[in-house]
């Protein structure tokens, strides 16, 4: 039985990050869509259900944690991975409380990132 490709939404205001990550994820067979702002991400999430989302902590206008809260409310079963260039304990704790499945620090080795998203999606589907 051929499984339907998993869908991932990438949210970051840095286009280079979005483009390169999209290519990496697509090379692993994922269907990837991107959003450069929190609003765009919310809109896309309403149109379609994603299996996972990578959310940058710092976004224009909207804080990553706020976006996370919205996304978690809308799609509780979606895997949500927070990314940040400047981690803090407060943010990490807040993210996990708001429903994040992982909290990663940039730069992360792409191989580790792929492993992480795969594991998290497996965990979610099994639960």
């Amino acid at each position: 039985m051929k499984r339907k490709a998993k869908t991932i939404l990438l949210v970051d205001d840095d286009k280079q990050i979005l483009d390169s990550l999209k290519m990496i994820l697509e090379s692993e067979g994922y269907t990837v869509e991107t959003a450069q702002s929190g609003e765009e991400a919310v809109a896309k999430n309403k149109e379609k259900a994603y299996d996972a989302a990578f959310l940058d902590m710092r976004l224009p206008k909207m804080q990553g944690t706020d976006l996370l809260a919205v996304m978690h409310k809308e799609s509780p079963r979606m895997v949500k991975i927070m990314m940040t260039g400047f981690p803090s304990l407060e943010n990490a704790v807040a993210s996990l409380k708001l429903g994040a499945d992982a909290y990663i620090m940039k730069p992360i080795d792409p191989e580790k990132l792929l492993e992480l998203v795969k594991n998290k999606m497996t965990e979610k589907s099994e639960s």
């Binding site: 390169s20 260039g85 080795d109």
Partner: protein, 580 residues
């Protein structure tokens, strides 16, 4: 042999008056009070019942005479006063209006006249006849002679008697001369008494001053020996009675240093006649007690202007000086405190600014680095998907080394970002029980030690298999940093030693290398942020270590010698773990 003949009347009178005046002269001799002299003269005349006299003295303006004393009975004086309407003490004889008195006073003549003629001159013009009636003497004669004092006529002496004749004049004159000499003696005596009284008064005042002033006062002779001191100085010298000091010097009471110093000052005062004013000195007694004094010393000169000694006065300013010193110390301390606080604030501001910058840079570098990582990953994937031939060529040309080099640089840049994060982030102290061996072994295992470096762990017996409470994460991070530095310091190999010990209630952890060493001039700066001597490095590593160790209530220090090696030592509080 002379024939004895009966003595004639005038001769016997003369002899009598000579004996009388001689007697009066003897009586007043040695009497040292003017009024007393006059009183004795008058008394003697009254006793004679034969002679009367008046003593008149010139008024201050020298124009008239006044009755100083008289043999006239008080009753008769009262009667005359009533008659004339003037009190005797207010009655004056104007010299210009008189004949006899004028001659006596102005010309110094001794005159002989009828008593009534003399009385006439002694009475107010309108009252001449009643006065003469009152004092009437029949056939009485008066001799009026000048009364002198130091060759200056000060009045007249009038002697009256019925037996008086001109050949009595020498006797009367002789008496007045005796009166004069008695008066002169009395005057001299009174001025001497006056001087003595003045001196006594001055002595009393000086004594009162010396006894009551809290300052120390002393008089010294030419050889700096005490002549006289007051109670204040006695107290300063540590003796009870001021007399004890007489004849002694400062060397008998004070420390040789202070006595020597004072002696030198006094030599200046005595030899050069220069006063010493308000010299602040420490007056130290032989028993070690001391007071701060302000001293003034001035030379004392005799009438010829020769210096005969000196007088000194010392004021105790110990309290004042101590307060002043205290104030000075206090203000200096305050300045130092302000300086330290300002420095700390400045340092805190600087660190905060560096922290902010670190956060910003860390964040801004994270994204590009992520992109580079992603591209590298994609590049590797792309190479894998190349046709075998192309792949072979690419590998032959060193593409894998290129990828590896980029990966290495990414790793290194990532470390800088992590350092920046460490530096900017608040540190939380989370203690856990661990033993020294575990701590050092685990840490050493996380770093890559090149083959040419021999590493070893040394643990003090006192710490062996003892668990203590520290934050292992903090200590590991610091140790990793120090071990990495140590390895980098030995590019040609060497010996790396990680040591743990117990010292004065602190755990000491040290990392020693036999590497290149740190130049002396850099040792102070290596813990400052942004200080680096490495080609690659933000200079945050050791600053982070210091921050971490300080958050652990510890300290970190360094010793190094160029060419021999470096040892970093940390001290953290030793708290024995209660369980295990």
């Amino acid at each position: 042999m002379l024939k004895k003949e009966p003595i004639s009347k005038p001769l016997s009178d003369l002899i009598e008056i000579m004996q009388f005046t001689e007697n009066v002269s003897t009586k007043i001799h040695g009497i040292l009070d003017m009024d007393e002299i006059f009183r004795i003269v008058i008394d003697e005349f009254r006793k004679s019942k034969k002679y009367t006299c008046h003593i008149l003295l010139l008024t201050d303006d020298g124009k008239s005479l006044k009755v100083a004393d008289t043999t006239v009975s008080p009753l008769k004086i009262k009667a005359a006063e009533r008659l004339v309407g003037i009190k005797l003490k207010n009655f004056t004889i104007q010299l210009d209006d008189s004949k006899f008195f004028k001659q006596v006073v102005r010309e110094g003549k001794t005159i002989q006249a009828n008593v009534n003629d003399v009385m006439r001159e002694m009475s107010p013009q309108t009252m001449v006849s009643p006065i003469i009636q009152l004092f009437y003497f029949e056939n009485a004669m008066s001799i009026v002679t000048p009364l002198e004092l130091h060759g200056r006529i000060i009045g007249t002496f009038t002697m009256t008697s019925t037996t008086l004749a001109d050949y009595f004049i020498p006797s009367v004159s002789n008496l007045t001369r005796h009166i004069t000499s008695a008066l002169e003696l009395a005057e001299e005596n009174s001025s001497r008494l006056k001087t003595e009284r003045l001196l006594a008064r001055e002595r009393d005042l000086l004594q009162a001053l010396m006894d009551n002033i809290p300052d120390a006062i002393y008089f010294k002779d030419k050889n700096s020996r005490f002549i006289r001191i007051n109670t204040g100085q006695a107290k300063k010298l540590g003796i009870i009675s001021p007399e004890e000091a007489v004849g002694k010097t400062d060397f008998d009471f004070l420390t040789p240093e202070h006595a020597e110093d004072a002696s030198n000052d006094e030599l200046q005062v005595l030899k050069k006649n220069q006063p010493l004013i308000d010299k602040v000195e420490k007056s130290e007694r032989m028993n070690g007690q001391f007071r701060w004094v302000s001293t003034t010393k001035v030379p004392i000169k005799d009438q010829k202007g020769q210096t005969t000694g000196l007088v000194g006065i010392s004021r105790d300013i110990t309290e004042r000086k101590m307060m002043k010193d205290e104030l000075k110390r206090y203000s200096e301390n305050l300045e130092e405190l302000v300086r330290q606080k300002t420095e700390k604030l400045k340092e805190a501001e600087r660190l905060a600014a560096i922290g902010e910058t670190a956060a910003m840079v860390g964040h801004d570098l994270a994204n590009p680095l992520q992109v580079i990582s992603n591209q590298l990953y994609l590049g590797k994937r792309m190479l894998e998907q190349f046709p075998e031939e192309c792949k072979k060529v690419a590998i032959e040309r060193g593409v894998l080394q290129m990828f590896e080099s980029v990966a290495g640089q990414i790793y290194y840049m990532n470390k800088i970002i992590n350092d920046l994060r460490d530096f900017a982030m608040p540190i939380k102290y989370e203690p856990a029980a661990i033993d020294a061996e575990t701590l050092l072994t685990q840490t050493l295992s996380t770093i890559i030690v090149p083959e040419n470096v021999r590493s070893s762990i040394e643990i003090d017996e006192k710490l062996a298999s003892t668990k203590f409470m520290v934050d292992p994460n903090i200590l590991k991070r610091v140790l990793i940093n120090l071990l990495t530095n140590a390895v980098q310091a030995m590019p040609n190999g060497g010996k790396l030693t990680a040591k743990a010990g117990l010292e004065d209630g602190s755990i000491t952890l040290s990392v020693k290398d036999t590497g290149v060493g740190i130049p002396k001039e850099n040792l102070d700066k290596i813990f400052e942020p942004l200080f680096t001597t490495k080609a690659k490095g933000a200079g945050l590593g050791l600053a982070v270590c210091k921050r971490l160790i300080e958050a652990h209530e510890g300290s970190i220090s360094v010793e190094s010698e160029v060419g021999k090696g470096t040892v970093f030592t940390m001290h953290v509080p030793y708290r024995r773990a209660t369980s295990g």
